[in-house]
Structure formats: C-alpha cells, structure tokens
Symmetry: C2
Subunit: 450 residues, 2 copies
C-alpha cells in the first residue's frame, strides 16, 4: 500500500512522505517530549480527526497521535515487507504455549476497512486476523478458521447450530480453548445459545467482539482478542463465556457467563454487563481473578455433549401500552410454538390480553414471562392478575434475561420429546441461566453454576 | 378493626393483646434498649415475617420490628379512634403552605391491602390516601381526587388522555403543583406520554409510585408521596417529572425528566433511572438540589397547551434473532401506522427483514429505530446496512428511549396533519426527549431542555 491510498492527508501525509514511511513500516514519532514506536496503520474516516496518525504499538494496541508542526516522524524499517505466511493458518507450535482455536464469524473485531470507501466490511479472513495481531503468536499456538462472515444482527438460530458444530470440531482437536470472534450486536445472544447447545465442555469457549473497528485509534479489537486468547489458554473454567472490557479504559476485562450477559450500551467499550449475576472472572495485567464460584472447571477428559438444534418459532412479545390481543392470536395462527413476554415490573401483562394468552396456551404454545425491567426477578405471586396468569400456565422465568429465555425456549422445543417436558424445563436451571429462590441439589453437573 | 383480623398471630398477637392495643392505636415498643413510638398498622402476608410488628412512625414511614420474648409493648392511646373526615377531600387551607393536587390512578402507592386475603388491590380512595399519610397536611394544602384505579400494566393510551385532562383541570385551579400516584410498571411510559400531551406547563407535575405496598415494613409509599408533594410545592421547574428513591435506603430521591426515565429493576426502590440524561433534581433532607439545566421554569402565568390524543396503532418490534419478515407484513396489513424497532447495537436490523421494512414505509407506515441496548445513541451511518435503512426512510431516534419513541410516535400521528410532518418531527426535540448531535436553536420554548 502506498501512502496515496493510506487514507492520510495534509500535515500527516507530508511528514510521512518526508520520512519515507509506508503503511506497514515500523516508525518512531517524537511528539511533545515522548517517543512512540509502532507499525504505521492505514486510516479510514479521516474526516473525524485528519491530523491523527495511527500506529500499532508492540502491545497490539492501536494508538492515535495528533501531530503538530513540531512532531517528528522517522522510519526505522522503511520499505520493510510485513511477514505474511500466506498458506499457513497455524503458527509453528511452541510447546510451552497453550493451543487455542480462533473461529471468526464476522463483526467489527473481524472486519476489514475498505480504505477506498471507508466502509467497514466483515471480511477479514482468519489469516488476516492472525496477521493483524501478530503478537498472538507469543500468547498461544493458534488454529484460525472462518466459520462465516456476517454482521451479527444477521445471525439467526441456524447460525448458532453452525457455530456450535465448528466449536465441537475444534474441541475434538484437543485444543486448550476456543475463541469466537463475533459482532457485538447479538454476541450475548449467541453466547446464551451456545451455552445450551454445547454442554459439559472440557475447555473454555469465549466469545469476543470489539466496539471500535481496528483502523480507529480507539480500537479494542487487538486487546480483546489477546485477552480472550490468554484467558481460554489458562483459565480453570469450562463454560461458554464472553470476554469484553470491564470499563472504558484498558485496565481490565471481565469474563461473563454466556447466559447472563447483555449489551447495555450502543458504543462504549464496557457495553457488556452481567445481569442478575456476577461476572465470573476479572482479567488484568496481573492475571485472572475468579469472582464467582461455583462454575464448571476445565477437564480435558470430559466428553462434550452437543445438542445444536433450535426451533426458531419462538418470539419476544413486549407488553407495552397499546399492545392488542390480536398480536398474540396472530403468532398462534402463524404456527409459533413459544412466546416470551417481556412483561412490565414483576412480570405483568395487561389484563385485556390475558384471554389471548390463555388461548395460546390452550393451543399448545408455551408462554413464558420475563421482565422488561431487565434487572431483578419476576414474581407473579404478589398481585392477583399475576396469580391468574400463573394459573393459566404462564411460566415465570425468575431472574432470566428475556433474550436468554427466548434462546432457551428455542432450544428446548428442538431438544425435548414433548411440549410438557419443554414446559417443565423452562423454569429449571440447565446451564446457570437462572437462579432459583430455593436451592435444589438434583441438577446435573453444570448446575454447579445454578 | 379488632386484633383478630389485624393479621397478627403468635408472639406478636400475645403481646399486643396483653397491652390492650388495637390497630390504629399509638403504641410504644421497648425492644433491645430502644423505644419506638408509632401507630399500630395491620399486617398482610404475615407468612413472610410472622414475628414482626409494623408501626407507622411520626415521619410517616412504616417500620417493622422483629419482637422477641423480652420486647415490651405499651398502648398510649388504647382505643383511640383515628380522625377520619369522611366528606372533606381538602384540608383547611393554611396560607403559608403550597396548594397541591394529588391525583390517584391506582398502583401500589394507592393500593389497599385486603387484610382477609392478603391480596393487594388498587382500591385506595383519594381520601384514604390522604388519611393514610396524615402528615401530608403539614406539607401542603391538598386537593385529592381519583382519576382511575388500575394496576399500571393495564394503562392504555386512552388512559393517558384521561390523566392529561385531569391534570389540566387541576392546573386550572391555580394549584402550585400536581402529584400523580401511579403504579410503577408503566409509570415511566405514562410520564413520557404526559410530557407530549401537556406542554408549556405553568407548574411542576410529578408522577410517583411505590415499589412496596403500604402494609409492608419496607414500604416507600408514604415517603415518596411526601417528597413528591414537597417537590411540586417548591421546585422551580414546570415539567413532567418522576420522583422516586435515588438509592435503596431513604437518603434521597431523584426527580427525573418524564421522557428520560425507565424502570430498570423489578423490585428495588431505586428501580427508576434516568437514561442517557442526568436526573433533574436531587431531593433530600436539606432540600432540592438542581442537577441538570436547562429546564422549563415555573411560571404561573404560562398558558398550558394540551394535546392529549394518541393513536395507538403503533407498536414496538424487537429485532432479535429469529425475527421473520412476515411479522412486519402482518402489522402493516393490520393497519398499524408506526413501528418502533428495538434494533441491535447502533440501530441494526437483520437484512432479511429490510425489504419488509421498505414495503411498510412505502405503504405509509412510519418506521423508527431505537436500540435494545437502552443506553447510548443510535448511529446508522457506521455500517453499510444501517446506511441502507436510512436511505429507505427508517428514522434514527438518536438517544431516545424505545418506550418514549413509541409514545412520541403515537402522539405525533394523532396531532400532526400529515404523515410527512410526523416523520420529520420524530427526530426533532419537542420536550427534551432526545439530544441531537448538533445543537439547534430554532426549537420552541420547551426545547430549552433539548
């Protein structure tokens, strides 16, 4: 890439040209008494900050420096070609490092900026991913593989099945952990789906995304990927988890339980939050700190149980003011098998839709109740209309997230023999997705987490 | 009420009987070295804490004390009848106090416990409300009135119209402020609706609820009502606001802007949070502290502009995985005029429903985009599919809450002459419900708050 199509202009282009620096070169920048060393990255969206130059530091983190007339740029390895082992997708194994599979599904973390248009496309190959963050080779022996390449708002239940099967294939290779690069939009929903589809994991499986694309000075892509790789290589846990920034700066990341996490901000790096449960681990420079036991531990001999199918005839119904009973009727008539109500407060729905809910239940549709409050627990025993809904068969989802309840119901309908069994299992803890009022001990192994 | 139907049993009943105390009596309790003085309250749901006795302190706050064998109870005014001015709904005016209207719509704050069944019913009359919190007379001259008596999950757009008209009637009486007692489930949605329906307010109008019914030791009903009354009596603001606990203890309350507040927990007292905006005021023992200007100031001469109608053919569509395009088609075919998408991330929807959205827009349906993240701002310019939706006419709702956007669209469709005008106004700030990226100055008076 020449400087002309690097995206730089004006002052920055002038100084880079004077230094004979090209994209991919290692350069030093002397700026306001400090020296920065890193690889010159190309720019997109320069309209936002035309005087910034972006370099990738040795840490893997991209930093943007706003140049002024006094700033000096020197090229250390002008014209150096970046090493790009075109065919190999696995680095030469180092026996002292863990072996980690990185599966790419798309999203910002695995996206490539089109430097002509500035658009962000989910097109980064697994090899590109590995090349983009070359430091990964110092953290693990990497198997990189593309599963799909989509923006995560397009991920559908059939995709969860495909991702689950890919993870299973990687686990059969006896890796120490699996990292799934995924768009952040539905990352927390895919993580819940995989938690049901892939039970009794022998090793950790972590979904990771980034909120800022890799060409932006503030990108969290490299750091999140390195942290996730380190984490699955070493953590003593064998659950589906999500690793993302714990706060807006780079101080630490959290590993959240896959069924308990939600994207709660459109753009902040710390958008992901554990809801109604503590994060499982805190990850920082000093290592991995456990925050919340019990959890399923790493055990390479444990046999993975894969049940990757989902029935997508389930939907979320928000019971806000203005909802009409014919909405419920319409879902029943269209062959939906499950409705997850995002009710108000403790799990309420307007009384004028109660009879439609009863008709749905009588027709064999499973109706489950969560709260649009998001935080807290459904309790339908407090007020009379709640009690009436319980009596007609609406299932209270306790402190389960609406999205997790939806995914769970899709999974139950595809994996239980009868509607009755799906109904009963809906309010039981299977993979730590729900905490019951009363502790129960008869759950299976993963209910250590319940 | 005799002790037999007071709800007390066992140890508590024994001690109350020995003291000759009846419900409504002022009693003292000597317990673990402290003396408590208050009015003996009846109990419901004693199953939860059978050894507690509940008294109403002079502060108006109910406290539950867990008795033991050593606790002593004395009746100060055994058999005293509580004063109950059966006909009057206005206390004798004290000229140094503000005049405040309290409108009751139902919900926990205005509910009466059925001491036979323990069920909580929204049946407290305005007079009961006033009697229940007799201290109110020391804070304001009260006009009390019942508008309706429903659990707030049943509140529908036509009810907002009714409440708006009632508020307008009270304001015509030249009161210093209006308090609306409302169930918490949809309190934040009614507050948004009233903000559009009642513009250019001369005095403050505050919605207040309680998370715990008034028979429970932890009830926040009395305190919230007193705080709200004080607040509308004295605050220099003339907006629709919500006053609720700022944290779980009783230290302080917040006054939130009506279009910016959301119930974010099923049961905590501090469930209500301002989203993407600061609370407007903090209210504590020391008074009212202003947190966020600009806002519309109190001005008794300002002429209220009432536009109380809403078109309820608007609904929220959650674009979670599994959504099918025929859901959109079905709303269009059923005559809906507006769809508010709770999209993922920065405002995305699966591409397989884009053509259904385009058909909806071509059919004259207004489609607006918010984010199911709740926090943050929609930005559809970052990724190509977002840009495509903007081009087809999907309206980005910036940092507006999904529920507020829904209410706003219902209001616009009932109050603008053409769909085009409703479309244009959707992303403009009318009553502080949205903050624009770029400050604009041509808004009308209430846009001081935008």
């Amino acid at each position: 890439m020449t400087l002309d199509d690097s995206g730089y202009r004006g002052l920055v282009l002038e100084k880079l040209s004077a230094a004979g620096a090209k994209v991919g070169d290692t350069i030093t920048i002397d700026h306001q008494g400090r020296e920065y060393v890193g690889i010159l990255m190309p720019r997109a969206q320069v309209g936002r900050d035309p005087d910034h130059v972006v370099i990738k530091l040795v840490s893997g983190y991209n930093v943007g420096i706003r140049l002024n007339e006094l700033s000096e740029i020197h090229s250390i390895k002008s014209g150096r070609k970046r090493k790009r082992p075109a065919e190999k997708t696995t680095s030469k194994a180092q026996s002292d490092l863990p072996t980690v599979s990185i599966l790419s599904t798309g999203g910002t973390i695995a996206s490539k900026v089109d430097y002509q248009t500035g658009a962000v496309n989910p097109a980064l190959s697994a090899q590109d991913l590995y090349d983009t963050v070359p430091e990964l080779k110092d953290h693990a022996n990497i198997h990189a593989r593309i599963v799909m390449s989509v923006f995560s708002e397009n991920i559908q239940p059939a995709d969860w099945t495909k991702i689950a099967r890919s993870v299973s294939s990687e686990i059969k290779k006896s890796v120490d952990g699996v990292v799934i690069a995924h768009g952040t939009d539905t990352l927390g929903i895919t993580s819940a789906a995989l938690a049901f589809a892939l039970q009794d994991l022998p090793v950790p499986v972590v979904l990771v995304g980034s909120q800022r694309s890799s060409d932006r000075p503030s990108s969290d892509a490299a750091m999140n990927l390195i942290r996730a790789t380190d984490f699955v290589g070493h953590a003593n846990a064998a659950e589906i988890m999500v690793v993302m920034h714990g706060q807006t700066d780079d101080t630490f990341a959290y590993a959240h339980r896959g069924t308990r996490v939600r994207k709660c901000h459109t753009s902040r790096r710390d958008a992901f939050q554990s809801v109604n449960y503590s994060p499982l681990f805190k990850i920082d420079e000093t290592g991995i700190a456990e925050l919340s036991a019990p959890l399923l531990r790493r055990n390479p001999d444990r046999k993975l149980k894969m049940k990757p199918k989902f029935d997508d005839r389930v939907t979320i119904v928000n019971t806000s003011p203005g909802i009409k009973p014919d909405v419920i009727d319409s879902y029943v008539d269209s062959g939906y098998r499950g409705l997850v109500l995002a009710g108000t407060g403790l799990g309420h729905a307007p009384e004028h839709i109660h009879s439609a809910l009863k008709r749905a239940i009588d027709a064999g549709v499973i109706v489950a109740m969560t709260s649009q409050c998001i935080w807290g627990r459904v309790n339908m025993n407090v007020y009379r209309p709640g009690v009436e809904m319980l009596e007609m068969g609406v299932i209270p989802c306790e402190n389960m997230l609406t999205e997790t309840a939806t995914v769970k119901l899709m999974w139950l309908l595809a994996n239980t023999k009868t509607v009755e069994k799906a109904h009963a299992a809906m309010s039981e803890c299977i993979v730590g997705e729900i905490s019951m009022r009363t502790e129960q001990s008869e759950y299976r192994i993963q209910s250590e987490a319940c």
